[in-house]
């Protein structure tokens, strides 16, 4: 699971173009939106939707789910494990 979360962080860094950020800089449980060093905004929320679709075949059709799903690496990881295409 830790390896998966590290891989997920690497995908987040690439997809969201987070300069000078390493996987170890992103805490698993800390809120992703609101972390000043990441500087995420509403466009990044859309990039998360693209990331899930591209890498895991998961389509989020109801944007209201995004707030909970994209809260942290832990919540994102849990959602992917439960919904990724086989």
């Amino acid at each position: 699971m830790d390896a998966f979360k590290t891989q997920l962080k690497e995908q987040i860094i690439e997809q969201l173009n987070l300069e000078d950020i390493k996987p170890e800089d992103i805490d698993n449980s800390t809120a992703l939106f609101g972390d000043e060093k990441l500087g995420l905004d509403s466009i990044d929320a859309l990039e998360f939707i693209v990331l899930l679709d591209q890498n895991y075949g998961i389509k989020i059709s109801d944007p209201s789910h995004g707030k909970d799903v994209f809260h942290s690496v832990d919540s994102l990881s849990k959602y992917i494990q439960a919904n990724k295409a086989n």
Binding site: E19, G39, V50
Partner: protein, 194 residues
């Protein structure tokens, strides 16, 4: 005095005088200037190149200015270029035609006036603004626009030219709180072209 700043992949000029040369081995000259300015603004790296250049140029120019005497809605922003957001438009087009995934972060920059928005967000400007498409720097109606704005609500104008194509990257900004005349414009043209 009308202060100006120009940046290109070669260096930085303040009021026509070169103050910094980009390293010959620089892989990313805009990132080099970001580091030189010691900025801490993560959003910078997600911006299009028009916005990056405008932000960097104004950060250098700001060092020459005293902005405290202006309210946040008294500085008008008047920018322009020839090729609009065409460079990013093509990147966005490539993202959905060839990579089959429309990129939200590219889409948001498929309008040139977004660079004014980024300048406004970073510097908390709430004043009048306009982004014009003109054939070249000399065709921008700075004199008419600045003098009109300064006769009405705005107390100062941040003006300039920011261009990004495959072959060219440049940004020239100038700041004035007094009306422009033809002599001022000629001086600015010289500083832009040098």
């Amino acid at each position: 005095m009308i202060h100006s700043c120009k940046i290109t992949a070669q260096g930085v000029w303040i009021n026509g005088k070169n103050i910094y040369r980009i390293s010959e081995d620089s892989e990313d000259w805009k990132k080099e200037l970001y580091k030189k300015l010691q900025l801490s603004y993560p959003k910078f790296f997600k911006m299009d190149d028009l916005s990056k250049m405008s932000i960097l140029t104004f950060e250098f120019l700001k060092k020459e200015l005293v902005l405290d005497s202006f309210n946040d809605d008294e500085i008008a922003l008047l920018l322009g270029n020839k090729n609009s957001s065409l460079y990013t438009d093509n990147l966005f087009s490539d993202s959905y035609l060839n990579k089959k995934q429309a990129s939200p972060s590219l889409f948001v920059y498929t309008l040139p006036n977004i660079t004014i928005g980024e300048l406004a967000i970073k510097n908390k400007f709430y004043g009048e603004n306009i982004f014009l498409i003109a054939a070249n720097f000399e065709q921008m109606p700075y004199l008419e626009l600045v003098n009109n704005k300064l006769q009405n609500y705005s107390k100062a104008c941040l003006c300039g030219w920011v261009e990004k194509t495959i072959n060219k990257e440049e940004c020239f900004l100038f700041f004035t709180s007094s009306a422009l005349n033809n002599k001022d414009l000629n001086e600015l043209y010289k500083k832009y072209k040098n």
